[in-house]
């Protein structure tokens, strides 16, 4: 599989085909409730989840999402379609949530988003998974990962462990969570993600790598044992 194929297959975009999207934009411009409701059904829960990266609690996140919808309704006439609609909406949300988070942070010592710059709590694979330096086969796996047949298909994994995966993403420190939600859950491109979060391409890759590695570590029992261990994963 080439890299490009695997990227496309690995990050299905949540936005519909362009003609459906332009239909929604036109509908919203005409003030059609059905177009607005479709967008709500598609994105509202995701917006609230993403807002939690920056704001204190669920009700603040809900308010930020609602403010975002007002801005979408007001701004849709000026929307030029330079980025996909989904990316534009997430960008509005991120700006509003960041501003609110900054206001909130005046009344608490750290913003959740910024403080994890100081916490290196997303370590990669444990070094003891690899043969230590100086020995024969240094740097290679200490024991086999699994046999090839046991590697789950993505849809099986999503179906059997989807709830667990989403909870694990929610537990990630803010910047890891924001990148993983935008890139892997919602299928935004690296460029869109960098623009929304105001980070460099290299930084985005580092954050994404750590988040994915962490997710794989937490899923390891499942990858070895299969579906019957999902309940125990909790």
């Amino acid at each position: 599989m080439s890299t490009n194929e695997s990227q496309l297959a690995g990050s299905p975009s949540r936005q519909g085909p362009p003609d459906i999207e332009s239909g929604l934009i036109a509908g919203l411009r005409r003030g059609e409730e059905s177009a607005f409701e479709t967008l709500l059904q598609r994105h509202h829960t995701s917006l609230v989840r993403l807002a939690r990266v920056w704001v204190r609690d669920a009700s603040a996140a809900e308010e930020v999402a609602q403010e975002t919808w007002l801005a979408v309704v007001q701004g849709i006439h000026a929307f030029e379609g330079r980025s996909p609609l989904q990316s534009w909406i997430f960008g509005i949300l991120a700006n509003k949530a960041k501003r609110r988070g900054t206001r909130e942070s005046r009344s608490r010592p750290f913003s959740a988003y910024d403080s994890d710059a100081d916490r290196d709590d997303l370590r990669g694979m444990s070094p003891d998974r690899f043969v230590p330096p100086g020995e024969e086969w240094a740097g290679h796996w200490t024991y086999p990962l699994a046999d090839e047949e046991s590697c789950p298909e993505r849809h099986v994994l999503a179906e059997e462990a989807g709830g667990f995966i989403l909870r694990q993403i929610d537990e990630l420190p803010g910047r890891y969570r924001s990148v993983m939600l935008l890139r892997d859950v919602h299928g935004l491109t690296a460029d869109e993600t960098c623009a929304i979060l105001g980070i460099s391409a290299a930084n985005q890759r580092v954050i994404l790598h750590r988040a994915r590695t962490r997710l794989r570590i937490t899923l390891e029992p499942y990858l070895r044992e299969g579906a019957n261990c999902v309940e125990q994963l909790g």
Binding site: S6, G10, E33, W69, V73, L145, D184, R205
Partner: protein
């Protein structure tokens, strides 16, 4: 494949360790490796019995994340937002 570990061929694996491979996986999937590193990565992929599994697991996890379903919007929140929408579209 495991016979790689006890013959001369296995030396080729030494060019990139599994530990280094793991660190490069995201850059590989993002197509961000320079040509030379990409070649070393792909050589390792051919020679190593385990790292192809690691790469496939990563692809499966990333793919699964893209298939996750958010909770449905609650009818209460939907109704509140739709009623606001009626005000907003009238310039309220």
């Amino acid at each position: 494949m495991s016979s790689n570990l006890d013959n001369g061929e296995a030396v080729a694996l030494g060019d990139l360790t599994c530990r280094e491979f793991v660190d490069l996986v995201t850059d590989y999937l993002e197509d961000a490796l320079d040509k030379q590193t990409r070649a070393r990565f792909e050589d390792h992929l051919v020679d190593c019995p385990d790292c192809p599994v690691y790469l496939r697991q990563m692809e499966a996890i990333v793919g699964a994340a893209g298939l996750l379903r958010e909770e449905d919007l609650s009818p209460e929140v939907r109704d509140v937002l739709l009623s606001r929408f009626r005000t907003w579209r009238n310039g309220g």
